[in-house]
């Protein structure tokens, strides 16, 4: 691969969009200033399954300030029901509690909300089923799981090998339903100016919103424009359009020429913006007495919505982490009357590596081995399933570097040995991994301006991921110019197609398109192109994509304190060491990796969405009930990385870093809790009620 020379890359450039965000002037979706706005407030179903018999909108329509009410009887007809999640206000059917069943468009947000409160609905309720358990008789195997992986895999005879193993771990782990909960709610301003629909949206992909919404509404793609220069976090939940995009568009059709402003409330985000499925994971590890794995069996049960399938790839990391001659992985789904689960930071790896890395800790204890050493003994030489050579596997270096920095060798391996004024202290380790993805389909355009300036355009997204800054650095190096000479434009479908900011693929995919466009510019216009010269290119396919197993790896080390009387757990120290190829901007990369670790801490100790089976919805649907880590929860935390250039991955030498920080973090903390207390908690989150006695 032809690599680009790092000059801007590798430097800690400050966030280009930082000042505007710090002043609060960078416009997020709801903040675009438009004339004569209207406001939308939805009505949601209060049954989890059944049909609407009658909706009385008269009281709402007569309210001062209300412009219109739309229901399944009055909304415009959509063109495609291919994606059932987006089949909004098209039928009387109710698939889950909280589904949109009407919406009020009004002159002010207060009137819209008051109007929605006045809509009377009669239902014919059917018996709903939202009961998630591993004992259900109707669990089924999906055709594939998310990202196209096989549902089940099987090597050797894992069951027999497990039965015959000298040392066995057989444990069941659970992770709860979790919600992405970005700070900026899911938001759309929709304006219909026939024949054009414009959406100011908060999204991880303007282009996928455009194509999906266009298809849904029966519009041509070029009739729709989506604008999203700044995104207040997504973590997967803004990776694809959800029902609110369609609802806003339907409302816009009703009030041509006027912007319809719509932001989900925090409560609504718990049923309309995706979530991570709960998981029940039985993990069986068989090993020799000296800790060499002879069998790995990972059985996963998770849920999907009945109306549209989403199958998280929870067992996928188990297929590559450790060497074993026998291995079996399996995913089974319960289809329930719930909203559709979706992507949440490192889908698959996050829950799967929680179970797998705690199981490894249990095996280390069972074998009397140091957990780092156990992992060293099971390092696979090649990808265990594909038998491809590793592109760049540096797990052991991460573990060793982390152990050195964390003073791991000073640790007494026995649990419950250290305490300080009523607090037990323990430490734990876990591995992390995330695939290197480069998505095909992005295109970048570069245009030469006056005095050596370049305008680089690509419809990419920055959801806090640093895209504004890192793509500028990549473009500067691709064009061999200073970063000041690069004018980047992202976040608008007026710019060329860009794939989603997901799967930690953004910078790799978009950056490569920019590199390719710079090469094309040079090919067409020579080394010193004149003002007005322009070139465009797409992300190419990597030569090593099929022949090498390309993944990032990491090691997470955590130290916790556990109150012996109250069961409170406090993280006191945490370090992540990662191998992710070249780090394009160390200042921003450290933030993002620590951010992933912080979300992992939050998963370990706090997060749990509770579904009330009688009603069918999440009842702790706000930030007072659904706890995410606060400032006081995060103490001494740091992330570092191996000095590395991956010349198989991208011409920048990089792989993505958006997700690996969360992977393994919860396991490291759970393992530390075990080491502190001698109590193994296998069900997240680790809250005081699980430790107090």
């Amino acid at each position: 691969m032809q690599m680009i020379e790092p000059r801007a890359m590798g430097t800690p450039l400050q966030r280009i969009d930082g000042a505007a965000k710090i002043m609060g002037t960078a416009p997020y979706a709801f903040e675009h200033r438009l004339e004569r706005p209207t406001y939308l407030h939805p009505v949601q179903s209060t049954i989890a399954r059944g049909r609407i018999l009658k909706i009385d909108t008269r009281a709402a329509e007569s309210l001062e300030g209300v412009i219109a009410v739309i229901t399944h009887e009055t909304a415009a007809r959509l063109a495609s029901d291919e994606n059932k999640e987006l089949w909004v206000l098209q039928s009387a059917k109710v698939h889950f509690r909280g589904q949109f069943i009407a919406a009020v468009i009004a002159q002010t947000p207060e009137s819209a909300r008051a109007g929605a409160d006045r809509i009377a609905v009669e239902y014919e309720a059917a018996r709903h089923d939202v009961s998630f358990s591993g004992g259900r008789k109707d669990l089924y195997a999906p055709k594939t799981v998310n990202a196209g992986y096989p549902t089940d895999t099987n090597q050797g005879d894992a069951e027999t090998a497990f039965e015959r193993a000298e040392v066995k771990v057989d444990s069941t782990y659970t992770t709860p339903m979790e919600h992405n909960s970005p700070m900026e709610p899911h938001t759309t301003i929709a304006i219909w100016e026939s024949p054009k629909l414009t959406l100011y949206d908060s999204t991880q992909s303007v282009h996928s919103v455009r194509t999906t919404v266009a298809k849904s509404l029966g519009l041509k793609v070029d009739q729709v424009r989506v604008v999203s220069p700044y995104v207040g976090g997504g973590f997967g939940s803004k990776g694809e359009p959800h029902a609110h995009n369609i609802l806003a568009a339907l409302a816009a059709l009703r009030v041509p020429g006027r912007p319809v402003k719509f932001a989900l409330t925090r409560q609504q985000m718990f049923c309309l913006a995706g979530y991570r499925t709960p998981t029940i994971q039985r993990f069986r590890l068989g090993a020799t007495r000296d800790g060499r794995l002879t069998s790995i069996i990972h059985d996963v049960v998770e849920l999907t919505s009945r109306f549209k399938e989403f199958a998280e790839q929870t067992a996928v990391p188990t297929r590559l982490m450790y060497a074993s001659p026998n291995r079996r992985t399996r995913h089974r789904l319960a289809a329930l009357d719930l909203p559709k689960p979706s992507w949440m930071r490192a889908p698959g790896e996050t829950p799967g590596m929680f179970a797998g890395e705690v199981a490894m800790d249990e095996l280390a204890v069972a074998c009397g081995l140091d957990p780092v050493e156990l992992r060293v003994r099971n390092e696979p030489e090649r990808n265990p399933e594909s038998d491809n050579p590793w592109g760049n596997r540096h797990l052991l270096e991460c573990l060793r570097e982390g152990a050195r920095r964390f003073a791991w060798s000073e640790r007494d391996p026995r649990p419950r040995q250290r305490s300080d004024r009523g607090w037990l202290i323990g430490s734990g380790v876990a591995s992390s991994t995330y695939p290197r993805y480069v998505l095909l389909g992005s295109r970048a355009t570069i245009r030469c301006g006056e005095r050596g300036q370049y305008t680089v355009r690509i419809g990419a997204a920055d959801l806090g991921t640093g895209t504004w800054t890192t793509l500028t650095q990549i473009a500067a190096d691709a064009l061999q110019c200073p970063v000041e000479a690069v004018h980047l434009e992202i976040g608008d479908t007026e710019q060329p197609n860009a794939t989603v900011a997901g799967g930690s693929s953004g910078i790799s995919s978009w950056g490569w398109a920019i590199v390719a466009a710079a090469q094309e510019l040079r090919r067409l216009h020579g080394a010193r192109p004149a003002a007005g010269a322009e070139a465009s290119a797409q992300t190419p396919k990597g030569a090593d994509d099929e022949t090498f197993a390309q993944h990032s790896f990491g090691a997470q080390f955590a130290e916790v304190r556990v109150n012996t009387l109250t069961g409170e757990v406090r993280l006191s120290r945490m370090l992540g060491v990662f191998s992710a190829g070249r780090i394009i901007n160390p200042r921003l990369a450290r933030s993002q990796l620590i951010g992933g670790m912080t979300m992992g801490l939050s998963m370990a100790l706090h997060e749990e969405s509770v579904v009330d089976e009688r009603f069918g919805h999440v009842i702790n649907h706000d930030f007072a009930g659904y706890h995410i880590a606060a400032n006081a929860d995060v103490t001494d935390m740091d992330a570092v990385w191996l000095d590395e250039v991956d010349d198989r991955s991208t011409p920048m030498g990089s792989r993505g870093i958006g997700e690996i920080g969360i992977v393994g973090a919860a396991a490291a903390i759970a393992n530390a809790v075990y080491h502190a207390t001698g109590t193994r908690i296998r069900n997240l989150p680790i809250t005081p009620d699980k430790l107090v006695t």
Binding site: K21, I22, T465, V634
Partner: protein, 172 residues
């Protein structure tokens, strides 16, 4: 029902007529076009809407605008007249104390309010013996900043930025 009020927002006197149901947050965002106060939860559970009201940090989503008649509001935008960042804002930039940026203006206002409270000798939940802390430890900063949630997980750098601003104050 309508009410007419006057607010001083980022140094500028603003008069407006609004529904009594309008919160201070919506008055700023929807009526005055001031976007530095963000709506994250609308229920006092995230801190993204924090501003300085008559000099003190408050959430704005649970205050009715009509009850704030005659008050003075400073947002993160007002701290940077002409786009020149306040030293604390500059510290946020240098320490990369933000990612998506949505909670950031609230963090800034909260941090400034918090520093003033500490200056005035206010203790926090973690202050030993409830004495006025001689200096803000990291633990003190974390506790005092816990009313501002950040889902990106920028807390480590937020604490570093505040520490930098304190150090710069001490050495003029």
């Amino acid at each position: 029902m309508k009410a007419s009020i006057t607010l001083r927002v980022d140094g500028e006197q603003r008069s407006l007529t609004l529904d009594t149901r309008t919160t201070l947050l919506d008055a700023l965002r929807e009526h005055l076009g001031v976007t530095a106060a963000k709506k994250g939860c609308d229920h006092g559970q995230c801190g993204a809407c924090t501003v300085l009201l008559d000099g003190r940090r408050v959430t704005t989503c649970l205050s009715l605008a009509v009850a704030c008649d005659g008050t003075s509001v400073t947002t993160a935008e007002g701290l940077a007249p002409g786009g020149t960042l306040h030293p604390l804002q500059q510290a946020f930039l240098e320490q990369d104390a933000l990612q998506c940026g949505y909670c950031t203006p609230g963090q800034i206002c909260s941090a400034l309010g918090m520093l003033d409270e500490a200056q005035a000798g206010h203790p926090s939940f973690v202050t030993e013996g409830l004495a006025a802390p001689a200096e803000l430890s990291d633990e003190e900063i974390r506790e005092r900043m816990s009313g501002n949630l950040c889902r990106c997980g920028a807390y480590v750098n937020i604490v570093a930025a505040i520490r930098q601003a304190i150090a710069e104050r001490a050495t003029p």
